[in-house]
Symmetry: C2
Subunit: 571 residues, 2 copies
């Protein structure tokens, strides 16, 4: 389908495949199957075709790439998890939105033109119930969500005879131990479950969102779907401009991946940007508003303490986290401890009624390689570890945000300290950027750091686009950022020895060696771009079946020569 003129309807020569559950036969895990052309051998003048099996790959694009599903952004995408949630029988549908602000927006007739057309009533845990995946996991219950992610992680490893440790029971155990998270708000049943944890494939998060300087609702929805199309596993809506509430509703109703936010941004909007006027009550109402819309995880900078403010002044680049700087300023202005810290138990009590995960924000992440691994950063990390344990006491799922700007030699210490201080809660880092000297190329400076920290065990990598530090990303930047991070995440998966991780690499390499150009394109992370580049040299041969590389030309193709050698040796 097309949204705002972007086309996300299909991947080339691929089909959507659904795998059913065993424990839950009605779950259908969507995957993408990339078909391949046969390898052609010419023997004694005869053409012999050797078939190449399709390659199954992880698919984050949701229903948009299934031609059998008619998607319509005015209706939202199918709510696949509703029946799973209802069967658990531990939730209730509310008559009205709980948040005062939410009700005010809902009752404002002027907003009708920009409001999402369908009104879904919010769902909440029934009185005395807890509805988090962590809660179920600790009770020994394997949920449909858990079986779903187990199937999703394994792709077709079983059919390929690849051993795997990832079973539904393993998933349950990882979640119970706090080592993995399935961020799945009961009010976002459109979301296809996915898992964030170091034992699983490395995930990537993308950021979208308008700012005071930018863009409209349809554009934001298009960006969201676009980022899923290219491979974003989760999506943060970082909007700070007008109509945050309505924009978010459109995004969530159309988003097949978990959505995260930083609620302090909206809270600050509510007090017209005046940090001093922020209160726990306004923040609390914002949390509930967003819980009931279906946000799957909140970045909460609860580790920024009053005592840390002085450390900011010592740094080369101060505090570069928006949420962190807001809260630091608040603690200084009030000379009081942060309300996010003092009210953290209440926050958890809200979150566990909807199963919203908390992503503990690193307000003190270094904004320059100079400030990496400093006291401010690591003192905050210790606080995050303490808060993670508090979240677990409330059965709230938690992961920990990390830097930032870190030179390569200081990366391992980040991972090591995070594991220790945060008791193996999943780590979710922004990059890190390994040098500061390349604005315009920070998707690359950070893909280096991301691959390294991913290989060391970081569970999710927050993407960085080429526009980082300079401007807001457009669609092309989102694509560039997503692919750079898919590269980093996949390089890390190969390094970790994740079961089946090399299947796609090997298939693409074989296609390359066979001169199956179309398969090489189709198996790649960005088939369109690969083909486009190829055709720049071969406008005369758009069928892409040359038996040589465009790099070397027909006379110097190493791979063709080495096929001749192989033939010779095999004679």
């Amino acid at each position: 389908m097309k949204i705002d003129n972007i086309d996300v309807s299909a991947y080339p020569n691929s089909n959507k495949k659904y795998v059913a559950g065993t424990l839950y036969p009605d779950i259908r895990v969507g995957m993408r199957e990339i078909n391949q052309y046969p390898t052609v051998e010419i023997k004694d003048g005869k053409r012999i075709e050797h078939p190449n099996a399709p390659v199954t790959v992880y698919d984050t694009s949701g229903p948009y790439t299934d031609p059998k599903i008619n998607t319509d952004i005015n209706a939202g995408i199918p709510r696949i998890r509703t029946s799973w949630i209802e069967k658990r029988g531990d939730t209730e549908i509310l008559d009205d939105i709980t948040s005062e602000y939410g009700r005010m927006r809902m009752n404002d007739a002027c907003l009708q033109p920009i409001r999402f057309p369908v009104n879904h009533k919010p769902r909440r845990a029934a009185e005395g119930k807890c509805v988090t995946q962590l809660h179920y996991a600790r009770k020994g219950i394997i949920t449909p969500e858990m079986e779903y992610v187990a199937i999703r992680e394994n792709l077709d490893n079983k059919e390929r005879g690849i051993d795997t440790y990832i079973t539904p029971e393993f998933v349950r155990d990882e979640i119970a131990a706090g080592r993995a998270v399935i961020a799945a708000n009961i009010n976002h049943p459109e979301s296809e479950p996915m898992i964030i944890g170091s034992a699983f494939s490395v995930k990537i998060n993308t950021n979208i969102g308008n700012s005071a300087l930018s863009s409209g609702i349809e554009e934001e929805v298009a960006k969201a779907v676009w980022s899923c199309y290219w491979g974003g596993d989760t999506l943060m809506d970082l909007s700070t401009g007008d109509n945050i509430h309505e924009t978010r509703e459109w995004i969530i109703r159309n988003c097949p991946v978990p959505v995260g936010t930083v609620p302090i941004y909206q809270a600050l909007e509510k007090v017209n940007g005046d940090v001093k006027r922020l209160t726990w009550e306004i923040y609390r109402d914002t949390l509930i508003e967003q819980c009931e819309q279906g946000v799957d995880y909140f970045t909460i900078h609860a580790g920024v303490l009053r005592a840390h403010a002085e450390l900011v002044a010592e740094r080369l680049t101060g505090c570069v986290s928006r949420g962190g700087s807001i809260m630091t300023q608040w603690t200084v202005l009030h000379d009081e401890e942060s309300f996010l810290y003092t009210h953290f138990d209440e926050i958890c009590e809200i979150l566990n009624k909807y199963d919203v995960a908390v992503s503990l924000g690193d307000g003190m992440r270094p904004g320059s390689t100079h400030d990496a691994n400093d006291r401010a950063q690591f003192l905050e990390l210790d606080v995050l570890g303490e808060l993670a344990q508090k979240a677990w006491q409330h059965d709230v799922q938690v992961f920990i945000e990390g830097p930032g700007h870190v030179p390569m030699h200081k990366i391992p210490e980040n991972m090591q300290r995070q594991k220790e201080a945060c008791h193996n809660a999943p780590f979710y880092t922004l990059g890190p950027l390994t040098t500061d000297i390349a604005p315009g190329y920070d998707h690359i400076t950070s893909a280096i750091g991301a691959a390294i920290i991913g290989a060391l065990g970081t569970a999710m990598l927050c993407y960085v686009t080429p526009k980082e530090h300079l401007s807001l990303p457009d669609l092309g930047d989102v694509r560039d950022g997503v692919i750079a991070y898919k590269v980093a995440a996949h390089a890390a998966d190969l390094c970790k020895g994740l079961p089946g991780a090399s299947v796609r690499d090997d298939a693409l390499s074989k296609a390359r060696y066979d001169f199956r150009w179309k398969d090489q394109f189709n198996l790649s992370l960005d088939p369109e771009k690969a083909k486009e580049y190829y055709l720049q040299s071969r406008r005369d041969a758009p069928d892409a079946d040359d038996r040589f590389c465009t790099m070397c030309g027909p006379n110097f193709c190493a791979m063709r020569i080495s096929q001749n050698i192989a033939d010779k040796c095999n004679q």
Copy 2:
């Protein structure tokens, strides 16, 4: 100046600075000084300016960015090393080109229109003399080239009070031990000396060259100058199409960085691509032809042995090195040992008459992550180690080429084995690419591997452009590839703790924190692109002096907020 419509005349707000030698007061080492605007403080309504010192950076652009030098590609650039070489008194000027092929081209009147207009007679070591930097180093002689690179590596560390181990004597010692190379053919006096060795800053090599499918002479010269402008430290001319000889002459006469080639490509052209007809005599003539033109280093795939051919057949992607596949095929067709291997002593005897370094090619580099670190690759590496020692016996400088496609966890073994097998000769790798699934983005898949292997001690990284595997790079791709590799090399330098490596990062970070946008652009690896991206969001403020980031908009700027915090804390 402009060549073929590309402009490489100056870097923004920068000036060329020359530092004279101490041992050799007449050498002038060109560097780039980036000027900065003052930091502005508003105190009690008054504007106070705190000056920021200029930042000196390594400059590979040669005379093109010096407004005092008039460059003209028809005349070539200044031959700065001629007097140094002449003072040594160990060379002679030849009346004519030694190579038969070279003489034939020179005497062909039809080639007049495409021939470089100035005829420089070739220089060679006088009878019984050896003119390599290794020879001098072993004799305890510090050459101007050695002092030049010592100054060049240190930039303004001394003025900044940064301790450094890099002295002319240290350089001499590294070269004498074979741990570093100054590739500086006596017939390429235009080249500004640079050093390749793990104790120094990590260098990057760029590849240009026409193929049967591509481009003309002026375009190739423009690409060469362009790659130097963006930061390429050395340049390989991999042309395989028509007029290789003449194209190379134009490139060398206009190139301020060392030029490398793979002579087997041209040798094969001479036999019309018929591998079987390749002979030692043709290859030998090609070497001499290129030595006398001024090529600074040759990639020679002398480690590909007859016995290795069978191993190629076992691989997923065979042999992907052009030179390697040619030689493998030759050994199979003739059922004979490679003439590059059997004649290696004679090769060295030629090279040490001109001081051409040998870059021992890895004909068996893996072309897929599947084939990484296999027997073919490591058996060849052992042969390269043996050949390196042979080169040293002839006082020939040598470095070793490495992979290729290697997943992250297999990278350290490459470095470790290379050090052992090749007795600490400098390592020069292509990437490595850490996954195979991203054609169109292989500058990124490989920048990850390059940064890692650079940090482990690889001395030079051969760039990969986004067009790798798909097409020949255009100017935009060259720029993207160079910057991706400058990022990788610099990330590695920071990791290695190279003296002064973080000066530029810290200056840029400070500029960022001060909202000195123009300085942030100018200090970056690609000022033009950084500015262009910034202006996409700020068309209304082209002066770039906003006191907030375009990312967050005026109300949410973390850095502005944290400056307020710092002010508050400092009150």
